[in-house]
Symmetry: C2
Subunit: 351 residues, 2 copies
Amino acid sequence: MSWENNVRRVTPYVPGEQPKRKDIIKLNTNENPYPPAPAVQQVLREFSVDTLRKYPDPTVGALTKALSENYCVPEDQIFVGVGSDDVLAMSFMTFFHGDKPILFPDITYSFYDVWAEEFEIPYETKPLREDFTICRDDYMCENGGIVIPNPNAPTGIEARRDELEMIIASNPDSVVIIDEAYVDFGAETTLPLIEKYDNLLVVMTFSKSRSLAGSRIGFAMGSKKLIGYLQDVKYSFNSYTMDSVTSAIGCAALSDPKYFLETCEKIVETREWTKKELHALGFSFPDSRTNFIFAKHECWDAARLFEDLKEAGIYVRYFNKPRIDQYLRISIGTMEEMQQLVAFLQDYKQV
Amino acid sequence: MSWENNVRRVTPYVPGEQPKRKDIIKLNTNENPYPPAPAVQQVLREFSVDTLRKYPDPTVGALTKALSENYCVPEDQIFVGVGSDDVLAMSFMTFFHGDKPILFPDITYSFYDVWAEEFEIPYETKPLREDFTICRDDYMCENGGIVIPNPNAPTGIEARRDELEMIIASNPDSVVIIDEAYVDFGAETTLPLIEKYDNLLVVMTFSKSRSLAGSRIGFAMGSKKLIGYLQDVKYSFNSYTMDSVTSAIGCAALSDPKYFLETCEKIVETREWTKKELHALGFSFPDSRTNFIFAKHECWDAARLFEDLKEAGIYVRYFNKPRIDQYLRISIGTMEEMQQLVAFLQDYKQV
């Protein structure tokens, strides 16, 4: 016997590398290549430091109000967390507390099975079709909950909205989480459906489209009832998760919709340019609606290419997993960064 | 059947009120009345906002290094979280995963039973003695883990170090968490014991003594093995919990030990002054080693006094719970604030 017998043992999620080297092209964690909105800088310069001695607003009221105005969703239908990972972890804890297995695609965000293991939630993965699209009928069986990212990661593919709606409508006894981390890069949000289905939770993040991965801001929107349960579990975990500075940063980012749209557009343009170039170089990939491309070369081995790129100071993401071990996930950087990537690939040989 | 059948239902912790009114004397949430170290201001003014587009260091390396130097504890024996509530929640999840009940005092931090309920951990509370001291022998039975705050809250009483050591030494099969949120106001830390006992986890926070409740920084120190398990559970929950700005704020606060000590000393002085005044006014209280006093008046009803103080713009904390429903927990503010409290009480009458 030892205290170790009482320990929860888990195999943690491994995030993409955060190398300390400065001279690299970092296309491995889907970060935004552009800085956050200028108003964020102003917030940091003007923040009243003395107020930090006090606890933050536990309701994250100001940020919730700003989100409410931005998305036209009532404040009591919004939940704010420390990044969308925090929101998703809390949601798994809250809504997937039954005995039946929860469902998610076999190829998807690799944190879902980690949360399921952590919270001891039974789960089943549903294989994507050969072309990596989601098969709607797979989610029409008995289950304890459903989580689907839209667009999916790491494939970048957007699901058809009517198919997602059928999944949500056919599962009134399960909470369906649509993880829209990448939705702002040209996909259609399921957000309007929260008015119609009280079992739908839509999760979004400031990490990608709002250039604030370093600030850890995520949020979820859903029916008042759904958000109420989520708040209860959150308040039973930590009353004050969002620090005062971050909350102010979030408000600042939301205050500049023009900058937000322009940044997203630039990334979409760069993505479309990169698609053409990669295609010409012999890569194939699903049609991405995100800030990354999930690409496979007609002859080059992905693991070797991954290492060779790294050697050249270009970091992308490689998943050594069944069905996708010949793909690389390449985040969209600035046009200059993508040009450098393309230039490297034009000279690249694999013997 | 409905999706609500799969929901985890909890009764959340209720934190002390955070009133929006500005003209009040806020002595209800044990906040520090002094601002954070001046270096914190500088960090906010100089922070490179562009870096926020990138994910923070998942290991919170810089802050961990600063803590390591400050407390002379190796980096791999330190865990950093979003406030000590986050650290404690993660610790409950990680270390209290057995079938036997965990133990904690009946009068203590009111979040312990909330976490136990949230994570479905069986628990037993052990009654404090009549004088609110901890009875060591209560913790010598079979158990699945132990959590004791030292000094205890809301009593403010410091346990004898040799008694705590006996509890830790007698329970090699359980993790013993000593929650030292208030230790910097004149109590003795159990930190040196982590070298001797691999089942001891010492938890501290920046919220009280470092004037950073608004920033959410907590940390735990213990054996390498203990911290390893805690990290695994944390990385299975959220890879990046500490945002980049907060991490830099934490480092700045640690960089000024002189300011830290002076602030703590001022609060201790004010506390000792307040004790004398309250005593003269007919209050009795255990000898507090914290930044609050847990006081009971010889004739005034606590609930009424609480309301009357609030009416006068002085917020303290009242717990309507067995054994302590005639006590008020009064945080130590500035000398001026405590003088105003005392002046109010000198004129106070309860008929």
